[in-house]
């Protein structure tokens, strides 16, 4: 019988925390799933120049925070951050936007490495490049002559190279080499989008060397009032059959209609970039996952605007022929964002998302082995009023959440309202920080003073 764990990972020592810890990412060490790292828009608690990571060494039951990510600022922590563990050896990689550079109005993407999570040393800088947005890390390993090699993929929206801005930096052996550790930039957009591609670019890595990339190819972008942009887009998938480490990488999948590189999964979709839903901004939601037992079986999820709706609708589609042909929607969720996909070694597909429903943000996890043809296993992880707390900044909850599969288990992270109310957690919850579940109050270090509600990162684990 599967077991389920949900944990508010803000440590006891930070019971007085009231920051907006949005946009989480998670890495689980595949060799030792007891080791887990979570990141979010959490500033260093003492205002230092290193941003913190949350670390668990007992499978997510207890957590500590330590500051090891360079480029943070006293107020911001780091900018966007995504993390991934190597398949073997325990090295941790991060893709960040350097917050210090952001103070000079520079989007500076950096790739970082740490030999393991027990070190208190600052992560090592491997790559730094300006005008790059939303780095996203996936890591695999291959067996080479000298043992395991870390194959690291950092996808991003490289606005310095436009209009074809969807890109993936790849290193075929990043574990020990000196900076830049073999990283090489690959353009994955081969058509000519309207000005640029959308912010999210995602990869899915299969052990046989197949690597998929998904991105949103913008076909139009017009002002929509204020800072809203009306965008039309195609959802595109590219593929590389040799780990993405060769020349002309990510060019192994051509569109069945126009023969251009990159199969279009959906065309002519629209979104209102920077519009609002439940205090959260919209625009750019994308996920991709491949079945670890079958590299031909791949799923894509994205969000767009259907008809005249104010929010956005989540779509999931499935390909069983290496991304060449795609199903119609196998799952549609209205007023939902932040799709996250993962597939276990028993071919169970997981979809996590956040839905704005009845003035609440609801975070759900659905599991299906047959593309929702039968009723999925569904878990509501969290539900809480969408107007509490008032947003300090955007994103309110985050432009993404993350779901991982390690073996037959699912691990994930989301951010949400941290009111300690059992009704908000249908699957149950454990808090690290002091909380009074009877009176629905967060309590400070002295366990007496009340602490206002804020946004915390929540870890979840479904053990098979």
């Amino acid at each position: 019988m599967p077991t389920f764990t949900v944990v508010d990972i803000t440590p006891v020592a930070l019971s007085g925390d009231r920051t907006q810890d949005a946009e989480p990412s998670i890495a689980v060490n595949p060799q030792n799933p007891q080791e887990i790292v979570v990141t979010a828009f959490t500033p260093d608690p003492m205002g230092g120049s290193l941003a913190p990571v949350y670390v668990s060494t007992d499978g997510g039951h207890t957590w500590v925070m330590r500051s090891v990510v360079p480029g943070g600022t006293a107020r911001l922590g780091t900018g966007d951050i995504s993390v991934g563990f190597a398949s073997e050896g325990g090295a941790l990689y991060a893709g960040i936007l350097n917050a210090e550079a952001s103070l000079q109005d520079i989007l500076r993407m950096q790739i970082l490495r740490s030999p393991d999570i027990t070190t208190a040393a600052s992560m090592e800088l491997l790559v730094s490049r300006d005008r790059v947005d939303q780095p996203w890390v996936e890591v695999g390993s291959v067996r080479g002559d000298g043992g395991a090699q870390d194959r690291v993929y950092v996808s991003s929206n490289d606005l310095g190279v436009r209009p074809r801005s969807a890109a993936v930096d790849v290193s075929g052996d990043a574990r020990t080499a000196a900076a830049p550790a073999g990283f090489r930039r690959n353009t994955v957009e081969q058509r000519t989008p309207s000005g640029q591609d959308g912010p999210p670019v995602r990869t899915a890595v299969h052990p046989d060397g197949t690597v998929y990339t998904a991105f949103e190819s913008w076909t139009g972008a017009t002002p929509g009032g204020g800072d809203i942009v009306n965008v039309t887009l195609d959802v595109v998938v590219t593929r590389d059959d040799d780990g993405g480490v060769g020349t002309d990488a990510f060019q192994d999948l051509k569109d069945a209609d126009d023969s251009a590189i990159g199969q279009r999964v959906a065309t002519g979709r629209s979104e209102r970039f920077n519009a609002f839903m439940g205090q959260e901004r919209l625009g750019g939601d994308l996920a991709i996952a491949v079945d670890p037992t079958d590299s031909a079986s791949v799923w894509v999820a994205w969000c767009d605007r259907v008809g005249s709706q104010m929010g956005c609708t989540l779509h999931v589609r499935h390909s069983t022929d290496h991304g060449q042909t795609w199903s119609s929607d196998v799952r549609t969720v209205t007023d939902a964002k932040n799709p996250a996909l993962a597939v276990t070694t028993d071919s169970l597909l997981g979809l996590a998302y956040q839905q704005f429903r009845q003035r609440q943000w609801v975070t759900a996890l659905e599991l299906t082995a047959d593309d929702w043809q039968t009723m999925p296993e569904r878990h509501v992880l969290h539900q809480a009023p969408a107007n509490v707390p008032v947003a300090q900044f955007l994103p309110y909850l985050g432009d993404y959440i993350r779901l991982l599969a390690v073996g037959r288990d699912f691990y994930g992270v989301f951010s949400g309202n941290n009111t300690p109310d059992p009704a908000n957690f249908p699957e149950g919850v454990t808090y690290q920080r002091h909380a009074d579940f009877v009176h629905h109050q967060l309590l400070d270090l002295d366990t007496l003073a009340r602490v206002p509600v804020s946004i915390d990162p929540f870890f979840f684990h479904r053990a098979a």
Binding site: V12, G16, R66, Q196
Partner: protein, 252 residues
């Protein structure tokens, strides 16, 4: 005030008055105990970030500085520290230490005032110093009222790409009443500011209609200069108008 107290407060985010209860011990599992760790019971927090103000009564693991003679069990002192690990307990790195008697007058004084913590007056002085230094670096400092707000040509500079982190530039028209610094005269002035609430920009000043203040202005450069001669981006670029007195006093 001891000469080095102000400097220690400037250099550290957390200080507390405490008593060493154990040496060579740790209350945080991921911080191994050695001959330079001590467990200190906190008697009074002297200055701290909001999340750590209520440490009093708890035991903190201190990684003792190698530059200072280690204390003995039972010693009371003011520990000036930086953060290390936050878990089931707090572990900090010692940066400096002062005798307890040196800081007790601050504790006594805080009990008789509205100050949140004993070193609140020291922090206030440091904030004033920082504001004055920031003003010294500004290209102009004025006092004025916001009389108009509008988006600057769609909010994007030429060539700027669409991003969730885009600044969304707006223009504030300020009726300048007084010029403290800079080569300008009272009257209407247009100032550029990022109106985006993205993490990257949310704490930049967001002028409000009829808002009066002291504005620390910085010359615009490149493509932004076509919109306005000055911009405000740093959180401290707006100050309440009363802060002009602080600035003037510091400059006398």
């Amino acid at each position: 005030m001891p000469e080095d107290l102000s400097e220690l407060v400037r250099r550290t985010p957390l200080s507390f008055l405490g008593t060493v209860v154990r040496l060579g011990d740790s209350r945080v599992a991921s911080v191994p105990a050695d001959d330079r760790t001590a467990v200190v019971r906190v008697f009074e927090v002297l200055h701290a970030p909001d999340a750590l103000r209520r440490l009093a009564g708890s035991e903190v693991t201190v990684q003792l500085s190698g530059d200072i003679d280690p204390p003995a069990v039972g010693d009371a002192a003011a520990f000036f520290t930086d953060g290390a690990v936050y878990g089931e307990g707090l572990a900090v790195r010692e940066v400096g230490r002062l005798p307890a008697d040196t800081v007790r007058p601050f504790v006594t004084r805080a009990a008789r005032t509205a100050d949140a913590m004993p070193f609140t007056p020291v922090e206030r002085d440091l904030r004033d110093e920082a504001m004055v230094a920031h003003a010294d670096e500004a290209d102009a400092v004025v006092v004025g009222v916001v009389v108009g707000l509008r988006q600057a040509d769609g909010g994007a500079a030429p060539g700027e790409r669409v991003s969730e982190h885009a600044p969304d530039w707006w223009l504030a028209e300020i009726d300048v009443e007084y010029v403290e610094q800079g080569n300008m005269t009272p009257g209407p002035l247009v100032v550029l500011y990022p109106n985006s609430r993205d993490l990257r920009w949310y704490d930049a000043p967001k002028p409000q209609p009829s808002q009066q203040g002291m504005w620390l202005l910085h010359t615009t450069e490149g493509a932004l200069a076509r919109w306005a001669p000055f911009q405000i981006v740093h959180p401290d670029d707006y100050q309440p108008a009363q802060r002009l007195d602080t600035l003037r006093a510091a400059r006398r």
